[in-house]
Symmetry: C2
Subunit: 350 residues, 2 copies
């Protein structure tokens, strides 16, 4: 067990801890006074210690709905959790988001620890306090800010992840390489592609910690996304969420959609004379080198623009896109429908 | 329109404003940039201005469930609210709790204003940021802390309230008279019973503001109920919630249950040598003088104790009761089953 760093989110300090096994988590939780409920899905129940109170959710994005929350809340009540209780969520982004959301509303908030078991959840969902689920087909329409007490990084769990799911997480890592205040993460990704793609544990841990520290620098300055700083993490996401909506939330993985969206945002930045061409080119090439298809075309323009209009980052009824002025420097800017169409490779006529 | 005071809850300042009509609310909201959704129930829709986006919920405690939240969230999404949107809830405690809870989870939190139209909601639900709904028959099992931007006191709305509902709010006012740092509110209630029961507007406004200021002093020092200060407001509520559970949440009004619970807590305090007898006697007499039946007997002991065991104020698996050492001085203390039985007038044999 190794304490990596702590992330301050409002009044909550999230401890980020590297562990070699679930036993180390049990050891670390030994001093917790209240009751504990574990939450996992069908794929991650193997990580949950025997003899503990546990909720097993169905696997997949489809589970990200109120029913799952109600199941967790019911089990928490039945297990006698009080407001001094804790939920430990073990799984990918869906399980982490659901477990943390349930914790945020159970008796007006109990504690939560996260044990992300996918690369995407390790570098994204686990840190920063965002929780939520989907409603009316809209991603994370419902949610809260409820930072975890502990985030346990169990890098071992990445060894058995399938390739598509691993690449899913690399999409967010590549985004963090753009947002980092320096280009060390980008260079590391350029120079260690072989080791990272063959899942060398030491290389992966280095990548995860560097990626999380980029995220930390944004979320600490803006815990509830009200200052326009944290919005930078949304780079590529406005495009990505709309693409995911067109694909009914299932056709594209989040990481694939984000990698695609990041490239679209770089293009939009170049065409708006905000992003320097060499910067955009370097990162587009890096993203392509990790095997992402950034040439996907949007099949249903109508639904795509409808989804854009419902983007939850809207302020004063205007959707603002994250554009990059260069390494670690972003701005928020609306784009006209014509600009978006051009970036998507559509002609002006609908 | 008159700004009465502001209440600081964490980083949020709740402005408490006295208004003579809904037009004054519209005027005050004139500068709000985002979209607004009104939430009311069948009884309070008459207060909602025409031509505004509005959700009408069913009336009554039965509406305090997830379905209502989903209805609000659906209408908010359809009305194009963003995170800069605002929900204005007009109604009793149920509507205020639901509207504020929906606001707290819509896109991870949008703004909320409250227009309580019952005395109970004015002196209790509206200030302090508590939101929630019932699940699995447990009151407010689900909820958040999400203080309102504005609380509008429309004292006129109390003129048409039925007597039972008005007395419902008096239960909380009588509790605040005990918790106040001095006995001015108690004396005011003793000396102005006639005017208050005939709903003289000036007297009611004085009572509401004094009562809210008592609540303010507790919630400001402990916005999320983690310091044991705010727990004082729970005086009588552990008993009351259990009584309400036995009555299936419908037989007893909240204020009746609270008045009964406060007297039980005073008795428990006396029998534990915590509460001075003259203090307990003065307040029991005051409560009786307002027509509360504090002699209700619990019909189903089993369910009553089961409900006590699930009290959400539990810490380290122990239910703690609020006992009064005197005017405005409380302590939190567990009671044995025998002590509770004695206060309820049961013999030791079940």
């Amino acid at each position: 067990m190794k304490h990596l760093f702590s992330c301050a989110l409002g009044s909550r300090l999230s401890r980020v801890i590297s562990v070699a096994s679930v036993n180390e988590i049990l050891e670390d939780q030994g001093s917790w006074m209240g009751k504990i409920l574990w939450v996992c899905d069908e794929h991650t129940r193997m990580y949950v210690p025997e003899g503990t109170d546990c909720v097993v959710l169905p696997s997949g994005e489809g589970a990200k709905r109120w029913d799952s929350i109600e199941t967790i809340l019911g089990k928490a009540a039945a297990s006698g959790l009080g407001r001094d209780g804790k939920i430990i969520a073990v799984g990918g982004g869906v399980v982490c988001d659901l477990g943390a959301f349930a914790a945020s509303i159970f008796m007006r908030g109990c504690a939560v620890s996260l044990v992300p078991t996918t690369l995407l959840a390790m570098v994204d969902a686990s840190l920063g306090g965002k929780t939520g689920f989907d409603l009316f087909g809209m991603k994370n329409l419902v949610g809260t800010f409820h930072p975890a007490h502990e985030v346990y990084i169990l890098a071992q769990s990445l060894r058995t992840l399938d390739d598509a799911e691993y690449r899913n997480g690399l999409g967010e890592v590549l985004k963090h390489a753009i947002l980092s205040e320096d280009d060390r993460l980008a260079t590391y990704l350029e120079e260690n592609r072989g080791k990272l793609l063959s899942r060398d544990i030491v290389s992966m841990e280095r990548m995860i910690v560097d990626s999380l520290k980029v995220k930390q620098s944004y979320v600490e300055s803006d815990p509830t996304e009200t200052k326009g700083i944290r919005d930078a993490l949304n780079l590529g996401h406005t495009f990505a969420h709309a693409l995911e909506s067109v694909g009914n939330l299932t056709r594209f993985s989040h990481g694939e959609a984000v990698a695609w969206g990041v490239v679209k945002a770089l293009h939009a930045g170049v065409s708006s004379h905000v992003t320097p061409v060499p910067f955009a080119t370097r990162h587009e090439e890096l993203i392509r080198s990790y095997g992402f298809d950034v040439d996907v075309t949007v099949s249903d323009r109508g639904r795509f623009f409808e989804a854009l209009r419902h983007d939850k980052k809207k302020r004063a009824s205007q959707v603002r896109f994250v554009l990059m002025e260069g390494q670690g420097r972003h701005l928020l800017q609306p784009l006209t429908q014509q600009q978006v169409m051009a970036v998507l490779g559509f002609s002006g006529v609908e």
